[in-house]
Symmetry: C2
Subunit: 364 residues, 2 copies
C-alpha cells in the first residue's frame, strides 16, 4: 500500500474522519505536558483556569467563525447527534405543538423517530420515495404554523446530498450539521439551534457542538433530567459535570486551523474545488460512474457514486487502497462508493482520488 508523510494514508471515511495533520502534530507535541502545566490535556481539571480559558476561547472562536453574537451560546454535549435527536423534542415539543421534520436521509429519519416515540413528531416533507437522491424543496415543505420547530439535516452523509437553501419558516429552525458544520459561510442567524457531532468536520468523536439562540432555551419544562436540559448547559457553561475535555480541546485546535486557513469562505472555496474534481470525473465518464445524488442536491462533503458492476466496485476499493486512498466504500443503503472530503481532506487527496478514478475508468 502506498503511504504518504508519516506513513499516513488519505482517509475518505465518513466519520470518524481525517483530521488536519498540523492539528494532530500539535496535539502530539503537547501530549505529556500542555503549555507548561506539567500535565496532559487529558489530566487537567475542568475547573482549572487553564481549561476555563481554553473552553471559553473555543466557544468565542466558533461564534466568530459563524458571525454570530451574544444572542447565541455554544454548548458542548456528549452522546452524539443521536442523543440530540431525543433532547430536541424533550426540550421543545409537546403533543399540541409537535416538532416538524424534513426527512432527507437516515439521520433526519432517526431524528423524527425519536420525536415520534415521544408522540411529538410530524413530517414536513420527505424524499424517501426517491431513495433520498435529493433534498426536498422549499415549496414541498408543509409545516403546521403552531409547530414547535422545523428540523432539517443540512448534509446527508449516506446519500451525499446537501441543502443549498435555508428554509424560510415562521417557526424556530433547527439543523443537524454534523457532516458540514463550519464547511462554508451561511446566514447562521436564520437558525435557532444548530448541532454537530464533531467526528466528521470538527474533531474526534466524543462531543456535540450545539450553537443555540439563547431565547430558545428560556422556558424548559421542569420534569426533565438535569443532563437532558439545554438550560443546564447554558447555566453551567457546559460544565455541570466533567466535559469531554480532550474532544473539546481537539475541536479548539481544528477551529483555530480553520481560522488560519482563512475562515469559512476559504473553507468553502477549497471544499468546492475538491468536490468539483470528483464530480467532473463522474460527469465526464460517459456513465461509467453514476452519481447517486441529483446534481442540484449534491453534497460538497460526501460524493456518492456507483460503478457498472459490483465486481468493479470491489476492485475499485482494493486498487484505491493500494494507492493509499482508503475508506471510499459506500454505505450499504446506497451501495457503491462514497468519498468523504470534509474540511481536513487536503486538495492533494482529492486530486489523487480524481486521478485514480480517471485511470481506473480507462483501464476498464
Amino acid at each position: 500500500m502506498k503511504r504518504f508523510e508519516f506513513g499516513r494514508v488519505y482517509n475518505f471515511g465518513p466519520g470518524p474522519a481525517t483530521l488536519p495533520l498540523d492539528v494532530l502534530k500539535s496535539a502530539q507535541t503537547e501530549l505529556l505536558n500542555y503549555e507548561g502545566t506539567g500535565m496532559s490535556m487529558m489530566e487537567i481539571s475542568h475547573r482549572s483556569p487553564t481549561y476555563d480559558r481554553l473552553h471559553n476561547r473555543i466557544k468565542a472562536d466558533i461564534l466568530t467563525l459563524m458571525g454570530l453574537g451574544d444572542d447565541y451560546d455554544v454548548l458542548f454535549i456528549q452522546g452524539g447527534a443521536s442523543l440530540q435527536f431525543a433532547m430536541i423534542p424533550m426540550n421543545f415539543a409537546t403533543v399540541e405543538r409537535k416538532g416538524a421534520y424534513v426527512l432527507s436521509g437516515v439521520f433526519s429519519s432517526n431524528a423524527y423517530k425519536e420525536a415520534a416515540t415521544l408522540g411529538v413528531g410530524s413530517i414536513a416533507a420527505s424524499s424517501k420515495e426517491e431513495n433520498f437522491r435529493r433534498v426536498p424543496t422549499q415549496d414541498e415543505l408543509s409545516i403546521d404554523p403552531s409547530a414547535a420547530y422545523l428540523h432539517i439535516c443540512y448534509n446527508n452523509t449516506i446519500y451525499g446530498t446537501e441543502f443549498h437553501y435555508i428554509p424560510e419558516v415562521s417557526v424556530p429552525l433547527i439543523a443537524d450539521m454534523s457532516s458540514d458544520m463550519l464547511s462554508r459561510p451561511l446566514a447562521f442567524n436564520k437558525f435557532d439551534l444548530i448541532y454537530a457531532g464533531v467526528q466528521k468536520n470538527l474533531g474526534p468523536a466524543g462531543v456535540v457542538v450545539v450553537v443555540v439562540r439563547r431565547s430558545m432555551v428560556e422556558n424548559i419544562r421542569a420534569d426533565l433530567p438535569t443532563m437532558l436540559r439545554y438550560d443546564t448547559f447554558i447555566k453551567k457553561n457546559s460544565m455541570y459535570n466533567t466535559p469531554p475535555v480532550w474532544s473539546i480541546y481537539m475541536v479548539g485546535k481544528v477551529v483555530r486551523w480553520i481560522m488560519e486557513q482563512g475562515g469559512l469562505a476559504s473553507m468553502a472555496e477549497r471544499n468546492a474545488r475538491k468536490a468539483k474534481l470528483l464530480y467532473d470525473v463522474i460527469d465526464g465518464s460517459d456513465g461509467f460512474y453514476r452519481g447517486h445524488a441529483e446534481p442540484n442536491s449534491r453534497s460538497f462533503m460526501n460524493v456518492t457514486f456507483r460503478l457498472p458492476t459490483e465486481e468493479l466496485e470491489k476492485q475499485f476499493t482494493v486498487e484505491a487502497a493500494d494507492e493509499g486512498l482508503v475508506g471510499v466504500k459506500g454505505h450499504r443503503l446506497v451501495g457503491g462508493m462514497r468519498a468523504s472530503i470534509y474540511n481536513a481532506m487536503p486538495l492533494e487527496g482529492a486530486e489523487a482520488l480524481a486521478d485514480f478514478m480517471s485511470r481506473f475508468r480507462r483501464a476498464h
Copy 2:
C-alpha cells in the same frame, strides 16, 4: 516550581486526574499513525475491523480484571455519571417500585435527586447529618423489599470516604464506582450494575464504563429514547452511534497497564500503601492535620484533611505546588485539603506529599 520527568508535576487533582506516564507516552507515539493503519486513533472508523477488535478486547480485559463472566456485559456510554443518574431510574424504577438510594455524599445525593425528579426515588439511608464523614452501615439500610434496586456510591470523592462492605440486599445492587473502579478486587458478582465515569481511575473524561448483569436489562419500557436505553448499548455493542473512540482507546491502555502491574490485587496493595503514608502523617500530627472522614470509612482514593487555620491551608497549597505537588486543594463543601491518589499516582508522588506534609507541620 519543581518539575519531574518531562517537566511534569504530581497531580493530586480529583478528576480529570493523572494518568500513567507509560500510557501517555504510548498514546503520543502512535498519535499520527495507529498500528500501521496510516491514521490516528481519532480518525479511524468505529465500523473498521481495527477498532472493532480493540473495542472487544477492552471489554474482555475489563471483565477479566473483575473476574466476571459472560452473564455480564461492558457498555461504553457518554454523558458522564450524571447521565447515569437519570438513565438508571428511567430504565429500572417505577412509581410502584422505586429506586432506593444511600446518600453518602454529593454524587449519591445527585443520583437520588434525578430519581426524585421523575417521582421514582426513595432514601434507604443517609449520613448527611454528619456532613458525610462516614458511610452508612449495613444495619442502617432501610430498603423496601419491592424496591427496583439499591443505589450506592462506593467511593465519595469529595468527602474522602469509601464503602468497606458490600451491602447484603434482596434487590438488585447498583454502584457508582467513578472514583474507585478497578482500584481493588471486590466480589463484583454481588452487583447488578456498576458504572464509572472514567476520568478518575480509568482514562480521560468522555466515557462511562458500565458493567451490567445481562438479565438486568431484559425488559426495558418501550417509550424511552434510543440513546437512554441500556438495551440499545447491549444490542449494538455500544456502537448504535459513533462511540467516544479516543476515550475508550485510552481506557484500553490504562486497563492493560493495570494488568501489567499485576491486576487488581496489586493495585489494591499499592493504593493501600499510598493511603497509609498520608493517613499516618495525619494521625501522627498531634491534631495539626485533622482528617475529615471517620477512620473506618476512610477512602483509599481521596484523602481529605484540614489544617489549624485557613491561612495555613492556603500556604500549604502554595508551598506544595512549589514542590511540584499540585491539585491538593479540597472541595469547598469540606474545605481544607484533598489528595487524590488514584491508581495512576505513583508511590513516589505519595511519598513526596507525605514528606512535604511532615516538613510543613514541623515548620509551623
